[in-house]
Amino acid sequence: MSSIGSGYDLSAGQFSPDGRVFQVEYAIKAVENSGSVIALRGKDGVVFGVEKIITSKLYEEGSNRRVHSIDGHIGAAVAGLLSDARAVVNRARDEAANYRDTYQVPIPLKALTERLGKYMHYFTVYGSLRPFGVSILLGTWDETNGPKLMEIDPSGTARGFYGCAVGKGKQNAKTEIEKLDLSNMTCKELVKEVAKVIYSVHDEVKDKHFELELSWIGKETRGTHQLVPQDIYNEAKTYAEEALNDSDDDDTDM
């Protein structure tokens, strides 16, 4: 997608003659430059995986979280400009707190997605503001309604998915994900698959090192969004590395 806006791309408040809002498209490009983020919705929950690209040996492991909890029962994984992501996640938390204060129940995912989509869309209609350069993947699970996964892109559009990928390796990731029989897999199985996909789409040449961040929400966690426990994380990482070795690549070391 390398077309020049030629004058119609200076503000989000303008359409181009062929009906595009370039600022929104550029925001989507910003997301595509970020490390891959994937989310898989299985039988009993949702698993998130993030390829956190590391640019320096001085980086502290475990810092700079890419998966966030909203209100405890919703997980959010972000791709794109991380400072914009921070703003969107904070807004999501405010919306969730406000809903809980008014209705005395945790916010359903649909309601949160609507509110957040509305919020992100607001920034795409005024010339004085720029859109968020963020795609956010939201997932939840509860006893009654089971798992749900939604993605909101910089235009404010929300879509529901069984498997979703954003960021650098999204095309390859999507191909990998389509091979999986998601609705029949449990979270425990999916954790391994998520790790495998991230490892397989990671570009060794362009981005040497990366840290894998895995989180989940489902029956295993009783509806709370958490980072995957260390032992399951290690298992998943080993599985992914072995799968990678089978396809003749160097071991990706952290």
């Binding site: 979280r65 966030h68 909890s69 909203i70 209100d71 405890g72 938390r93 707190a97 809980r100 204060d101 005395q104 958490q226 980072l227």
Partner: protein, 257 residues
């Protein structure tokens, strides 16, 4: 007097303050429209008791919401588990306590989502409550409660605090609100004097005894109560229990023939 305030500063003039106070009371007296300042509690909870033991803190309260002299809501919880390190108990207006519970619930969620396993400890929550309550009293619109904060601090030491609607705040080895401070507090103090190294099991038995006496003596109490315990590891509130009572001595009290 006027000379002191002759410059244009942020300090209000004495005369203005007097006018404000007069306005306030006139407005209340006129009773025109909805009241904007709390003047009386409506549904109320009675005593909350707290005692610090060597291995934890015990807190107790009955499950009654009184509507004046009517024992109206007999299955409400006046103890709230804020997080694994703190339980609070509310005396006074129940609606104001529900408001406080809602705010604290949101605080715990905010702590949760940071994801580092660190939660506000009992002294922090106690201090926060003091700020809120004192601030409201200073606006002449109090939250009509006395709150007992039972828990532990970050180092694991047991903590027991008291904060009331006028912002008075302190910590002690045993605390009680309302009728409890007249009837249960002496009992708790005596028990602690005789057994300075009480553990939570003994503490729970002491609480049950105190609540029984309160049921005999406090007209706004109920023989159905919960006991909450905060240990070094976590906090929990029991299911409602009742005490065995013997009213036989009440059959023919002297002077009531």
């Amino acid at each position: 007097m006027a000379g002191m305030y002759s410059t244009h500063m942020h300090l209000p003039r004495m005369v203005d303050m007097k006018e404000k106070v007069a306005e306030f009371w006139q407005e209340e007296a006129a009773l025109s429209g909805p009241r904007k300042h709390t003047l009386q509690p409506i549904v109320t909870g009675t005593s909350v008791l707290g005692i610090m033991c060597t291995d934890g803190v015990v807190i107790a309260a009955d499950t009654l919401g009184s509507y004046g002299s009517l024992a109206r809501f007999r299955d409400i919880s006046r103890l709230m588990k804020v997080n694994d390190s703190t339980i609070i108990g509310g005396f006074g207006d129940y609606a104001d306590f529900q408001f406080i519970m809602k705010l604290l619930e949101q605080q715990t969620i905010d702590d949760d989502v940071v994801g580092d396993g660190v939660y506000r400890d009992a002294p922090s929550i106690h201090n926060w409550l003091r700020c809120v309550l004192y601030n409201r009293r200073s606006k002449m619109n109090p939250l009509w409660n006395t709150i007992v904060v039972a828990g532990r601090d970050y180092s694991g030491k047991p903590y027991l605090g008291y904060v009331d609607k006028i912002g008075v705040s302190f910590t002690d080895k045993s605390v009680a609100t309302g009728f409890g401070s007249y009837i249960a507090q002496p009992m708790m103090r005596k028990a602690m004097e005789e057994n300075p190294n009480m553990n939570v099991e003994e503490g729970k038995r002491l609480m049950a005894r105190c609540l029984k006496v309160l049921f005999y003596r406090d007209c706004r109490s109920l023989n159905r109560f919960q006991i909450g315990v905060v240990t070094g590891a976590d906090s929990s509130i029991s299911e409602p229990i009742s005490a065995e009572t013997d009213w036989s001595i009440g059959a023919n009290p002297s002077g009531y023939e």
